[in-house]
């Protein structure tokens, strides 16, 4: 999978504790350039904490990780410049238009005015925005917003884009169009790190990791995981690993000091 190329994410025993509660428990993995990694896990399994460390927002307790070649302890600003990020909850400014959002994020990431104009025209055509380009984001259907948010998150050609439940609540056609956009970016070399609760989408990833109670319990191509667990689908693999862990996870949080 990674071939001779340097991994764009390399984590070794990456750990984060809150008091005595271990949210992320010594996870180790590599992600290759242009790979789509599906980062799955039950609610409370530690996905968000892991992503916050990898995006330079939260210092690890122990272990190491390099993201786009930068250290998660000492080079967090360089990491932030090298990545894109979008989530279901926050992506674009709702009272700005699509054009204004593109301009805003382009400016933040240091694109020239000429480059921003060019990107705006390109995106308008690619996403078939038409007059929606000059309407406030809040008036656009969610699926559209998410496609635009993704395009904006990769505007500055980051090495990696982190997508936190980008397709939650999105209609089934637009969900698939969203994945087409992801494939396109991955093909151009951008690494895609994505979380989802839609198990059919897990099958679209190059590799899938499944977090349970802070650890990565499974990591491999969808085919490998299904073979290893003698399962017909990733959904089945997931259910087998994650079933019954909710109460246990809550209980371990309780044992820990308040976060």
């Amino acid at each position: 999978m990674s071939g001779a190329r340097e991994p764009v994410i390399a984590a070794r025993d990456l750990t984060r504790r809150f008091g005595t509660f271990t949210a992320v428990d010594a996870i180790s993995f590599d992600v290759a350039p242009g790979e789509i990694l599906g980062f799955l896990g039950a609610n409370g399994a530690g996905k968000t904490t892991a992503i916050r460390m990898l995006t330079g927002l939260l210092a690890p307790t122990s272990g190491t990780a390099r993201v786009a070649g930068f250290d998660v302890y000492t080079q967090t600003e360089a990491i932030k410049r090298s990545i894109g990020y979008m989530s279901q909850r926050f992506s674009l400014y709702e009272d700005l238009t699509a054009r204004e959002n593109i301009r805003f994020y382009g400016g933040i990431y240091g694109l020239t005015n000429a480059a921003i104009r060019e990107e705006t025209a390109e995106l308008a055509e690619k996403l078939d925005l038409g007059r929606a380009l000059d309407q406030p984001i809040r008036s656009l259907p969610l699926g559209w917003r998410q496609k635009l948010a993704f395009s904006v998150a990769v505007l500055h050609r980051p090495a990696i884009v982190f997508l936190d439940e980008p397709t939650g609540g999105v209609d089934p056609v637009t969900r698939r169009q969203f994945w087409d956009l992801m494939y396109e970016e991955a093909a151009s070399g951008v690494t895609v790190f994505v979380t989802t609760h839609y198990m059919d989408e897990a099958e679209y990833c190059d590799r899938v990791s499944i977090m349970v109670d802070g650890r990565i319990d499974a990591l491999g191509t969808p085919g490998e995981l299904k073979a290893r667990f003698s399962a017909d689908s990733i959904d089945e693999v997931f259910v087998r690993l994650a079933r019954g862990r909710g109460v246990a996870a809550e209980a371990s949080k309780r044992a820990g000091a308040p976060a």
């Binding site: 609610n43 939650g168 637009t174 839609y198 079933r243 909710g246 949080k253």
Partner: protein, 311 residues
């Protein structure tokens, strides 16, 4: 028996945006009735009208025989509502939240306990924890307990499983099946097509309009074109080939597989296998398939895409 929930030509617009366009349906007593559709389809507006929080611009509704506009006081005693956004008091403990809701409905936790026992038992070990400190799945169980503590006759759950992992989603639907067995009418909305199969009947909703109301089996069976499942490691290439075929109605990814629908009345799997082989994809496995709700939804919404959206 009179219907438990009736909507007649319900209509609601916000400015020039039609949130709900003359929607009519009826839910039978004791039915588990699902609204399946994406975010922004109008599900939340519909639920808010039915639970008396929003007044419709037109049409009317009856919930347990009462008009949500004029008889809202009496109605609120008889319904339970779990909004899409977590709306409990974050700085009250689990038990305090439940006691609070019991008190404002003039009852006690103990009086309603047999109904919520199975759900509440799972969060009871954490009864002293602040609600805001619970994880997603636990918050959702607490919210359901609070919506049930006064033993409502009709329960409205607005996207209770959005953002919830696949295992917790299953557990949640298991709970709904048990509540249904208690005779409570349940109206639930979801963006997950797979959850539709767990309802007695389903309304497909898109852009404020119903695309159809029927049992999950009947909706799935209404797919009227031949459907094939295609499995190949070269999924994206195959998708392109299938979509450009002259007889293609649609081709979409479905997890590891592709679903191909043909415009003709019949299509042999061998024909599609040959088509793919001719395009340099010799290893595809093609077989006939039965459509699911997601196939039907995508097929029906195709003609009703958002204004300006790629057709």
């Amino acid at each position: 028996m009179a219907a438990s929930v009736v909507a007649t030509e319900l209509h609601k617009a916000y400015g020039s945006t039609v949130a709900l366009g003359r929607v009519s349906f009826a839910v039978e007593p004791g039915e588990l009735f699902g609204f399946v559709g994406p975010d922004g389809a109008g599900k939340t507006t519909l639920f808010r009208i039915l639970v008396s929080l929003v007044v419709p611009d037109g049409g009317e509704a009856r919930v347990d025989g009462l008009d949500p506009v004029r008889q809202y006081r009496e109605l609120r005693r008889r319904l339970g509502y779990m909004p899409g956004r977590f709306s409990l008091y974050q700085d009250l403990s689990v038990e305090e939240n439940l006691r609070f809701f019991a008190t404002i409905f003039g009852t006690t936790i103990e009086a309603g306990y047999d109904l919520i026992r199975e759900i509440y038992a799972q969060i009871e070990p954490f009864r002293d924890r602040r609600a805001g400190a619970l994880s997603g799945g636990m918050k959702q169980k607490l919210a359901l307990s609070c919506a049930l503590v006064h033993r409502p006759k009709v329960l409205f759950l607005d996207e209770p499983t959005t953002g919830v992992d696949a295992v917790s989603r299953r557990e949640f639907w298991d709970m709904l099946s048990r509540l249904r067995a208690e005779g409570i009418t349940i109206v639930v909305s979801t963006p997950y097509m797979d959850e539709a199969t767990r309802c007695d009947r389903v309304a497909l909703i898109q852009e404020g309009s119903l695309l159809g109301v029927d049992t999950p089996a009947a909706i799935a069976a209404s797919f009227d074109r031949p459907l094939l499942v295609v499995r190949t490691p070269r999924r994206l290439d195959a998708l392109r080939v299938l979509r450009s075929y002259e007889h293609a109605r649609s081709a979409w990814s479905f997890g590891e597989d592709l679903h191909y629908a043909d415009t003709r009345d019949r299509v042999e799997p061998a024909e599609i296998a040959r088509l793919l082989a001719g395009a340099g994809i010799p290893d595809a496995v093609v077989r006939p398939a039965t459509a699911g709700i997601e196939d039907v939804f995508m097929d029906r919404m195709h003609g009703t895409a958002a204004p300006g959206a790629a057709a």
